[in-house]
Symmetry: C2
Subunit: 245 residues, 2 copies
């Protein structure tokens, strides 16, 4: 009997301890906007993205290596930095062959938690690189935890919708015995035909659009496969995974 | 401008710390089966239900007051007890004028957490007493936290569906700015016409039905208003709330 690998969804960093990461691939999901921005930067030719947990560390590392320090706190460019967390900032003209040193409220924190919990493999996922994530999970045939970054430990629907999109594509290759995953896929299937129309119902939408006017960011972050690379974490940095040929 | 009270949904005890309980009514939700059993016992004339966190404490208190010790661990009658966590055990013949001393895996633990966090008012909710809960929340006009007990801190859908049922009935009386609540109501509306048919998809269903054959329990726990009382917590016990006339 060939047993399939398992797949679980962690709806918040505060629930991550419930899942065994040491034998799993974890997908870090921060749809608005860290993991969408990581996909965009790598797709547009960044050498790598170094996720860090503080603005001083971002400044120090970027100075040392000649990289670009960037990040946000509470949805806007962090004090002391010149570049933020908008995927639209990272065009090829700007980011090609550069190293991005990135600090964010939720996504980089979850990545650090996954490291602390000895995750076997860490990748980052977002709608812009949905297919690359799914292809990788199917080909690797390992247990998977879809890790939603949420907002300051609160559940959010945009990360859940992305988890649901992954589940919808990969489910026949996994044993899924997890109410969070069932819910995530249900919410995705119900809204997939028009994610942009659903977005105004989300709390985070109000934070980003009504306060900061970031409607173009939102639309980019909800569009599948526009930056279809696979960011994989190793030795302190996220870089594009090269398939073995 | 008349501001409405707020309503939030906490999807797991591990997320409860994110919500301010000191100025709120919290609804303890453990659909399978603690809060359904509490509703059934009180509806059938129990004097009160004393929730406790351990089997020895349940035995000691019940001995001291001449009550009935009951409870479960991992879905079955706890070792050392004669009565479990099935609402069907607590018929009027058995429970009328008795005091039930109850210990459970998830629901009584969440209630203790709400106490520790100085919840202003604690009530218990389940499909069997859905309308009583909604009527109370509407009449009190206070902030509300719907607290899902989950399963050992994991998200579960049956508690979420009940939260969604409450939201569906009370939402026009509250300001709801909470992705968890939006998701809960969406899942409820999608499945409300046939909750029993949806139940076999739930992880907890398999625990209760495939392992212990508790299909009648499940059906009772998903039926609205069959034990329509309002259990309210005061002085260490849950008793039926008497409306002020």
């Amino acid at each position: 009997m060939s047993q399939k690998p398992s797949l679980h969804t962690s709806l918040s960093p505060a629930l991550l301890h419930l899942y065994d990461l040491s034998n799993s691939t974890i997908v870090i999901i921060d749809v608005f906007r860290a993991t969408s921005t990581i996909a965009a930067a790598l797709y547009n030719g960044a050498k790598c993205v170094i996720p860090v947990d503080s603005v001083p560390k971002a400044l120090e590392i970027s100075r040392n290596i000649g990289g670009i320090a960037a990040g946000e706190r509470d949805g806007r460019i962090a004090e002391g930095l010149e570049h933020g967390n908008s995927p639209l900032e990272y065009s090829r003209d700007f980011i090609e062959n550069q190293t991005l040193v990135l600090t964010t409220t939720n996504g980089t924190r979850l990545l650090q938690m996954a490291l602390d919990r000895n995750a076997s493999t860490i990748i980052s996922g977002s709608f812009p690189n949905l297919s690359a994530v799914c292809d990788y999970l199917i080909s690797e045939k390992r247990n998977v935890v879809l890790g939603c970054a949420g907002w300051k430990d609160r559940f959010n629907l945009e990360d859940t919708l992305f988890a649901g999109a992954v589940i919808n594509q990969v489910k026949k290759y996994f044993d899924i015995y997890c109410d969070s995953s069932l819910m995530a896929e249900t919410m995705y299937v119900k809204n997939k035909s028009n994610l942009a129309a659903f977005a105004p119902k989300l709390t985070h939408y109000h934070r980003l659009v009504e306060r900061f006017g970031l409607i173009e960011d939102i639309n980019y972050c909800l569009t599948a496969d526009v930056a279809n690379v696979l960011p994989i974490f190793a030795e302190g940095r996220l870089a594009t995974h090269q398939k073995n040929l």
